[in-house]
Assembly symmetry: C2
Homo-oligomer: 228 residues x 2
DNA sequence: ACCCTGATACTCGACTTCGAGTAATCGAGT
DNA sequence: ACTCGATTACTCGAAGTCGAGTATCAGGGT
């Protein structure tokens, strides 16, 4: 009964089965044609193990297995009452409760000091181009949805992604100009560190006297008692 | 040589070791005091297996193992040249190349139709409160960083999270008012579907004649040939 | 009649992730 | 002198993730 609620694919499976009984492959096809694989990671390996785990938890049950010719047999699953309750409860939690998300850009930014500022500026330039392209594609997709008169209800998630992408683009553009203008707090220290390391000085040597090597900006890097 | 570059914790390990040789526990302590565990998921199990895998790939090497008293032995690792190159290359990739991120809210929104609109509105209300609290905490943390004169360079990632959280809050607030006012495309269909299901009608019955049961909005749900 | 592409439907096992568990030491208080 | 919680330092196994691989069949072209 280890209901860990980790993989949202399991939630999508419950949602599909709450419409009608299906076999796993049909679930994957349904999610695909509805474009949900854009928002929920779907791959076969996970799908089948997730289904198995839901069955083990009693949230779905295997209805029957059919076999046509000598093709692999299809096991059709039905949602149980417990499964329906879990669907509603889990989805409620997803909507009501923000959770710490670890994005790759956040990870990258947290280690950004490991590359010299000029290189970082170039990399962010590249990212901006890629982001613009992605945003363009998203907007085109939204136009197509509108032409098909698909109610917004079924593509809220892409509006959300649009909002996040726009925020990312704005942030990165702002960050880039601050790096280029040197108005980002710590710019000098950042540049100086990489100059010294390029000259062969070790991290330990620099940190033995940060203020001496890097300037006043580095005073905050000293242990608190030594900050005079 | 299965360089899968999945877990950013491995990147953080490389970054730490590029400063000086350390043993795994020291790496974890370092990341913690620098607040990087906010941005990079860190737990012991993963840490040790990630370190082992880096060693297997030749990106780091075990320098020596020391033992004090009868305490568990500590294995100190050093970064190799290949490791230094990998650090720079991987970090460059993270900064320059956006990757599809699967957030839990996006997953939730993509299945939002499974709950009735009034319930969803309440859940989003709850989320807004939680988001405000989280934003408040983040702002307080930023103030403290500023008081300590910590250069911005070392907390860019929290500025980024701030930007994302703000975007999420704005989006959710806007979505909520659209749901409440009924201006979200598909509102009627959404409400009607849940009324019918509450009366015991099955999904299949509804979908047998969507326009009849749900109104004109549902025409786009028909296969394209039948949209007359 | 034959081939070839693409869809159908799943299986397998190597690799990762996770967090509780273990076990020793340090230091602050009583 | 003692004890109790915090810190140090890692281990282990159950569970989950991933994507390439397998095998069958349908339909269209040649």
């Amino acid at each position: 009964m280890a209901r860990r609620r980790s993989n949202p694919l399991a939630l999508a499976v419950l949602e599909c089965l709450s419409e009608k009984p299906m076999h796993p492959y049909e679930i994957s096809a349904t999610l695909r044609t509805r474009g949900k694989e854009q928002s929920i990671k779907l791959n076969y390996g996970s799908l089948y193990s997730v289904v198995e785990s839901l069955a083990k938890q009693g949230l779905i049950t295997a209805q029957h297995t059919t076999r046509e010719g000598r093709r692999p047999e299809r096991t059709v699953y039905t949602i149980t009452e417990a499964g329906q309750a879990e669907l509603e409860d889990w989805l409620s939690e997803l909507l009501s409760t923000p959770t710490r998300e670890y994005t790759s850009l956040e990870a990258g930014l947290s280690l950004v000091g490991a590359l010299p500022p000029d290189e970082v500026a170039q990399l962010l330039d590249t990212r901006i181009v890629a982001l613009r392209i992605e945003l363009g594609a998203l907007e085109r997709a939204e136009e197509i949805c509108a032409e098909m008169k698909l109610p917004e209800l079924f593509s809220i998630e892409s509006q959300y992604r649009h909002a996040l992408l726009t925020a990312e683009l704005d942030f990165v553009q702002d960050l880039l100009t601050r790096i280029r203008k040197g108005t980002l707090g710590g710019s000098k220290l950042w540049r100086r560190t990489h100059e010294l390391r390029a000259e062969g000085m070790s991290f330990d040597e620099i940190m033995a006297d940060p203020v001496g090597h890097l300037g006043e900006e580095a005073r905050a890097l000293l242990p608190r008692e030594e900050q005079s």
